[in-house]
Structures are given as C-alpha cells and as structure tokens.
C-alpha cells in the first residue's frame, strides 16, 4: 500500500511535467494552428540555462530559476519573431518541418556548448523527504505538484479574467474577428510563444531534481507530452494537464508493475500504446471540448 502511494505521487509529479509541456503545445496550437515539435527541446534549454546559472555562476536557486524562466520567455518571443512569423501562410507540413528542425538545432547547440553528459543541480530540497505514516514522499515530487497546481491556477485566472487573456482566447477562436475588433493578433501570437516557452522552462526547472538533464532529454519527453496533449484532447488546456497526469501515472505504474516481472522495459512503450488505444476509442481526447463551429 505504501508503495502504491509513493508510485502515485511520483507518477503525478512526472505527469505534471508532461502536462506543463503539453500546455505549451496546446497554447501554440490554439493561437497559430502550428504544432511546435521543439517544445520539449525548449524545456531542455530552460533546464540548461538553470544549470549554468546555478552550477557555473553560483547564483541563488530562486533567483536563477526566475531569470531562466524570463530568459526562456524571451527566447520564445525571438523564435516566433525571426522564425515562425515568416512561416505564416505556409503549408502545415512545412511549419512542422521547421519546428522539428528547430529541435535538432537546439539539441546540437546545447550539446556543443554544454556537452552530452547528464547534469543536474542541487536544490534547497534535494534528498529531503516528507513522511506520512509509512509513506515517504520526496520533497522534489511535492514541489513539482504544488508548483503545477499554482501555475494552472494562475493560467486559469489569466485566461478567464484578464483583458489580454480573454483576447488570447478570442484570437484563438476566431482570428479574423479578433483582428476586426482591434486585438493585435500578432502580439497575441508572440505572447502565446513566450508563455509556452516560459511554461516549458518551468517544466525543465521542476524536472531537474527528478531527473538529470542532457541534450536529448527534451526529445523523448516532448513526444510523451505531445501524446499527453492528444490524450487530453488537443486544443484543451485542462485536457493537456489531465492527459499529462494520465501518461505520467500509466508510465510509472507499468514500470513498477510490469517491467520487473517480464524482465524488459514495457513502460516506455506503454505511453504510446495508451495513445493508440485513445486514438481508436476516443479520437477527440478526454476533453472533446473543441466542437466544430456550427452555423
């Protein structure tokens, strides 16, 4: 039973990271109808920024993560401005290739600068744990979950109550009409990229104490997060988060429950099996909220 709870919390923690990256996928998709396959690599870059600030420049942990998150938001803005804005109106396939190529570039650049060895950071809460009865939780897991809950709350409030947040929703629902009422759609798109990159950076920062970072970490994680976005129903922000949690839990429980017994790794595949089953049974995802516009 204790094992169950421990697996549950670490599955949820892992799922939160997937969910944050998946939210980035959905944000960019909703604003621009582009799928950014470099989303995981942007997360990886955010993690390496943090590593540099903490391990090499000896910055304070909290200062370092704030600077890294802001820096990644700027990276998102720059990517949109110099790369993706030029692709508006091109075929979706061309845009897809650009983002996949961007992922390759980011991985190689990071590999050239920082090398390919796995790295990690020492956080104020590394190796600490909380104990509830017989169940022991690593504080790192708890921090991930708490941070994600706060972030989801903030994101919800932003989209629900701020003028710019509602404008971002409006622009994603009907871009032309948004232009007509005077919403600066280009700025909305840029903001979506900045927000997606910042969320990815946060995911990277949260991931660091759980796993070490290496240039390819974003590739695998990005694809799983993409699966999470699809399972949740592509185009739904809460769906992306729920999808992330589902994927995280499935992965961790198959890892513990099946891998050890059969003697080979099923857990990595389980995520994609889940994705396939989901696509067959309920192709529009858990939150099939994006009904086609009638009338």
């Amino acid at each position: 039973m204790e094992t169950f709870f421990q697996l549950l919390i670490s599955g949820i923690a892992q799922g939160c990271v997937y969910g944050l990256v998946a939210i980035g996928f959905v944000l960019i998709y909703k604003a621009t109808e582009m799928v950014n396959f470099a989303q995981g690599d942007i997360m990886m870059l955010g993690a390496f920024f943090t590593i540099t600030l903490i391990n090499y420049l000896n910055w304070n942990y909290f200062l370092a993560i704030i600077v890294a998150i802001l820096a990644m938001a700027v990276v998102g803005l720059v990517l949109e401005r110099v790369l993706l804005r030029r692709m508006i109106g091109e075929s979706p396939f061309a845009i897809l290739m650009v983002t996949i190529g961007l992922g390759f570039v980011l991985r190689s650049v990071v590999g050239m600068i920082w090398g390919h060895n796995p790295r990690s950071i020492v956080t104020p809460y590394t190796d600490q744990s909380l104990q509830f009865g017989a169940v022991v939780f690593p504080v790192a897991d708890v921090v991930v979950v708490a941070a994600t809950v706060v972030l989801c709350g903030l994101t919800f409030l932003f989209f629900r109550y701020t003028r710019f947040g509602v404008a971002m929703q409006a622009a994603s629902q009907n871009q032309l009409a948004a232009y007509y009422v005077g919403i600066p759609v280009k700025r909305v798109v840029a903001a979506s990229w900045a927000l997606a990159a910042a969320l990815a950076a946060i995911a990277g920062v949260l991931l660091l104490p759980l796993k070490s970072a290496y240039p390819e970490v974003g590739l695998v994680l990005g694809i799983k997060a993409f699966a999470a976005a699809i399972v949740g129903g592509f185009g739904s922000l809460p769906g992306a988060m729920i999808g992330g949690l589902v994927i995280g839990l499935v992965e961790i429980f198959t890892k513990y429950g099946i891998d050890g017994r059969v003697g080979f790794s099923v857990s990595d595949t389980s995520v994609y099996v889940l994705l396939l089953v989901m696509l067959i049974v309920r192709p529009s995802g858990i939150f099939a909220s994006m009904q086609r516009k009638k009338v």
Binding site: R163, V166, A167, Q169, A170, Q173, N174, L176, A177, A178, Y179, Y180, V181, G182, I183, P184, V185, K186, K293, K294, V295
Partner: protein, 256 residues
C-alpha cells in the same frame, strides 16, 4: 463639399492572380449611410476587406479622416475608428455574450465599459437575457445583433456592415434595418452597408454604388438609383414589360 470621411481611390485587390476588384473608387461623407449593391462575386466583400485592412490592395489608396490607411493592419484600422461587422457574424463562439462585447471595446480604456454595455443592451434587450451564455449557442439573428453590438462597443466613426440581413427572417431584416438607421441617427455613426437585399439597402441608405465584376458601374443617390430602370429590373426584381408583352431576356443593361 466637405472632405469625405472615407476616400477609396482606384483600388485593385487580388486573390492570388485573380482580381477581386479592379479599380474601385468610393467617397463616403461623414454622417451618411452608403450602400454597395451587387451580385455574388461582384467584389463587395473585397471592398470592405480592403478598407479594413484584412486585404492589402495592389494599387490605389484608402484614406480615412485624412489618414492614409492603405494596407495597414486591421487592428490599427479599428483603433482609428472603423468597426467591421463581417459577413456571417463571426462571433467568438466559446466566449460569453458579455465577453464578446467586452472584446469589442478592446482598443479603448475600460472605464466606460459598464455604461456602454448598458447602452448596447438597450438596443438589443435579447442579448441582456443571454449575457452569460456562450455566443456559439445564440441563434443566427442574435449572433448578428451581437456582432453589431460588438462593433458598436468600439465607438466607431465608420461602421462597415457586410450583409447583415444574410440568413435572417423578413421580420429580423426589418429590425436590423431599423437598428442600422438608429445607429446612424442617434450615434452619428457613418455606415457603409454591403447588401444583397437591395430593397432594404436602398430604403435606408442615402447614397449607393453598384458593383459588377469588380467595377463600379453606377453611383447615385438612392432615391434616383431606385428609380433607374436597370436597378429596378436586376436588383429589385420588377419586370420590365415590352411591346410584345413578354419579358425580353436579351435586353442588356445600359452600362454594358
């Protein structure tokens, strides 16, 4: 005559290689209702899209209140005071009625929002009943009212209306016409109305242009336009009787 509020000069706009409009000039005096009539594909919507900046013209210029707005972004154009009610309503389907209206006031300071909202609800009491409902669930007529209301929230000097009567019942067409007239008279908003319902448009407008194949073929005050034989036959559907007592299908329009 005073300088027109909107001046479109020799505008040519293309869809790829295909010309949407080929040299259209319009002049709209402040405070008036002007209509553009024409069949499907005549280029009416293209004219509006060129004015509001959704499409950039290849040639020609658009001036609004003395400012050159040729080919500028739609959000800048609407900031200057041109509100566009696009064809087919185009509300934000998952936002509530109130949020839709709020987005209409996006370019302005939000302090006036409450009182403006009440004013809109006076025009369209039905919207008030559904203020928390997602706009996608409104009926076609209500969505049209919402689109007009949303444009009004901009406090525009000029309102571009693209086929507001499309898909509405005759009763609602009547209501829409009255609302357009009162927006013009009470709020002093200049209106450029694109319509297929020529009868309604000629009734409420002061001046009209007739567009065919991307060119202006006739322009006059609506009182004279509605008496012109060609307009009567081809736009108002009144039959011309000939000596033979039959309709002459080969009869050609005067401007051809």
């Amino acid at each position: 005559m005073a300088e027109p509020l909107l001046e479109v000069k020799n505008v040519e706009t293309y869809y790829g290689l295909i010309a949407g409009i080929r040299g259209v000039s319009l002049e709209i005096q402040g405070g008036s209702i002007v209509t553009i009539l024409g069949a499907n594909g005549a280029g009416k919507t293209t004219v509006l899209k060129t004015i509001c900046g959704a499409m950039a013209p290849e040639k020609g210029s658009v001036r609004f209140a003395g400012i050159d707005i040729t080919g500028s972004d739609p959000d800048r154009v609407s900031r200057l005071g041109i509100a566009h009610v696009p064809e087919g309503r185009e509300v934000f389907p998952f936002l509530s009625t109130e949020e839709n209206l709020k987005m209409g006031a996006f370019t302005r300071k939000s302090s006036m929002f409450k009182s403006d909202l009440e004013e809109i609800f006076e025009y369209f009491p039905l919207l008030k009943d559904h203020r928390k409902l997602a706009a996608g669930f409104l009926s076609g007529g209500q969505q049209q009212m919402l689109a007009i209301g949303r444009a009004l929230m901009l406090r525009p000097k000029l309102m571009l209306l693209d086929e507001p009567s499309l898909g509405l019942s005759p009763k609602l067409v009547r209501a829409t016409a009255e609302i357009i007239e009162s927006i013009n008279q009470d709020q002093g908003v200049t209106i450029l109305l694109v319509e297929q319902n020529a009868q309604m448009a000629l009734e409420i407008a002061h001046f009209g242009y007739i567009l065919e194949n991307g060119r202006v073929v006739m322009e006059d005050s609506t009182s004279r336009l509605s008496k012109a034989a060609d307009v009567q036959e081809f736009y108002l559907g009144k039959k011309a009787s000939s000596v033979r007592g039959k309709r002459r299908w080969k009869q050609r329009k005067t401007w051809r």
